[in-house]
């Protein structure tokens, strides 16, 4: 019992501490690929530190929704971390609160508040970003649900730990056609949800071209820090779901020992690094899509995972 609570805390701390690093490594590697030097991998930490020590400026037309949003955006991915296998392959103390579909809804809660926070302060760019995020989201969120729908056909469950155990046990269903399609769809989903190229350019500075970033334009100081940190954690959560549940369900701590759990940290970090490399290749080789082409991109993701579901339906 005490051990499981400790593991839970450890999981949360790993997510809190390592998630900014993902963004740092990603942008550094991208710059290196483009023959530039780029900022240090620790830059996201410096940004957060800086923002936490700044005063906050708030629109005089905003309500309490605007002030509450950073907390929700920060807490929802952290909460999902408690539900999914990040380090261990056995469920932890707080995992019995929601399954993967529930976790998807919890992530949507953060997105909902982020949109409201963008609409609240009467800044013209925020609502534009919110509207665009919804346009991206109305195809991206179904992908999340359908992926776990299909997974439930195979594993007979939408509980991430059971799914993960199922994959590690049988290589046959792991390599099934449906699974390949699922992985492709989920990778596209990660690109869309995390606002990466080809859906969105995270390094862009032009408000009219922004999708995800413009929602946070009005935040400053601590609010901005929490929003940014929440965004980092969300990317990490999606990566963990992708890696630990769908693609490489190996390398997690199977025994209830502290050493095993600690050993899992570098292994998971290694997996995430590999995924970052894939993202770097994608980001460096593709260009950002035009706004209405994004829905085509996500439509492709949607159709792919529905095809996976159908393949699975017929195979069952």
């Amino acid at each position: 019992m005490a051990f499981r609570i400790l593991c839970n805390a450890l999981q949360a701390i790993v997510a809190l501490a390592l998630s900014p690093l993902i963004g740092g490594v990603l942008s550094r590697l991208k710059e290196i690929v483009q023959s530039k030097r780029g900022p240090s991998v620790l830059q996201p930490y410096r940004d957060l530190w800086k923002l936490f020590h700044k005063d906050e400026v708030v629109s005089d037309q905003s309500s309490w929704i605007f002030r509450a949003t950073p907390y929700v955006v920060f807490v929802t991915p952290l909460f999902v971390v408690l539900l999914i296998p990040v380090l261990t392959s056995y469920p932890l103390f707080l995992a019995f609160m929601a399954d993967m579909v529930g976790a998807g809804f919890i992530l949507a809660l953060g997105g909902f508040f982020a949109c409201l926070g963008a609409v609240d302060p009467a800044n013209p760019y925020g609502p534009m970003g919110a509207s665009r995020t919804r346009m991206v989201g109305f195809l991206a969120e179904p992908v999340f649900v359908i992926v776990f729908f299909t997974v439930s056909f195979v594993a007979g469950s939408t509980i991430p730990y059971i799914v993960q155990a199922q994959w590690t046990r049988s290589a046959g269903s792991f390599l099934a056609p449906a699974h390949v399609l699922l992985i492709a769809a989920f990778l596209m989903l990660i690109l869309a949800e995390a606002g990466r190229i080809p859906v969105d350019n995270p390094t862009g500075h032009f408000e009219l071209a922004m999708i995800d970033e413009s929602k946070g334009l009005e935040y400053s100081g601590r609010g901005a820090a929490l929003m940014k940190w929440g965004g980092h954690m969300k990317l990490m959560v999606l990566m963990c779901v992708f890696l630990n549940v769908l693609v490489t369900p190996w390398g997690l701590a199977a025994r209830q020992q502290l050493a095993a759990v600690l050993l899992a940290i570098p292994l998971v970090a290694l997996k995430i690094l590999a995924l970052i490399l894939v993202l770097v290749v994608i980001e460096s080789s593709l260009s950002k899509l035009r706004l209405f082409r994004i829905t085509e991109f996500l439509g492709a993701a949607f159709i792919t995972c529905v095809a996976a579901m159908i393949a699975r339906t017929f195979a069952a």
Partner: protein, 233 residues
């Protein structure tokens, strides 16, 4: 599935999944070059599946099919196309389509469902470990290729659509008959190459006459030659 599938069968299923993915991607892609690249991937997957099936069934014929495929489609077809066509065709980014991409993808999905339905009666003659992969996915490849052929308005992607249809038919076929005579496959492969060659020449002619390869614009028959349209090639 009653028994545990072997590693070869599992890998074959993986190839099947990727094959289906590439077929969908071919419907979604807007670039000629992307289309060609996807076709090459698809052909490689077909060859891989043939080798895997050859290993599972212990059939030399299927291995031969794999070798022929490996040589003809990913290597010779692009070479012929590159020889016969000008580079302008390759660099065009946007292919015109009769329907937009989301609609296309939805129709493609419906076709995939249809393919799975069509495959049900044939599945009895396939070894159980390959049922989930080759036949339905091959049928889907066939139908999606036919679909691409019918909505694209550019000559080269249409040609690739024909080739994708052939890929799909083979993908299903190699699982259905273990002892496919090599001569059949050779004949079909050479047929395919001749088709590519002829079509390539045709496309080149069209391009020389019209300045483009948008065959979607070829809507009316003309008796007499328009003045100044150039000599026939």
């Amino acid at each position: 599935m009653s028994h545990l599938p072997s590693l070869l069968a599992a890998l074959n299923a993986l190839a099947g999944g990727l094959f289906l993915l590439s077929a969908f991607a071919m419907v979604a892609t807007r670039q000629t070059r992307g289309c060609l690249a996807l076709f090459i991937y698809q052909s490689l997957l077909l060859a891989a599946s043939a080798f895997l099936l050859a290993g599972e069934y212990g059939s030399a014929h299927l291995a031969g099919v794999g070798v022929v495929n490996l040589i003809s489609k990913p290597i010779v077809v692009p070479l012929i196309l590159r020889r016969t066509l000008s580079s302008e065709i390759y660099t065009r980014r946007e292919i015109e389509q009769a329907l937009n991409i989301p609609t296309s993808l939805t129709i493609a999905l419906a076709l995939a469902v249809l393919a799975y339905f069509l495959a049900i009666p044939i599945l009895q003659s396939v070894a159980p470990q390959f049922r989930s992969a080759n036949v339905p996915i091959g049928f889907a490849g066939l139908l999606l290729g036919a679909y691409t052929l019918s909505v694209r308005r550019e000559a080269v992607p249409m040609l690739i659509g024909i080739l994708a249809m052939e890929n799909g038919a083979f993908f299903a076929g190699i699982a259905l008959s273990r002892e496919l005579p090599l001569i059949v496959e050779l004949a079909i492969a050479s047929d395919g190459l001749i088709l590519v060659f002829v079509a390539g020449v045709l496309v080149r002619t069209i391009q020389r006459r019209l300045g483009s390869t948008r065959v979607g614009e070829l809507a009316a028959l003309r008796e007499a030659q328009a003045p100044g349209a150039g000599r026939p090639a």
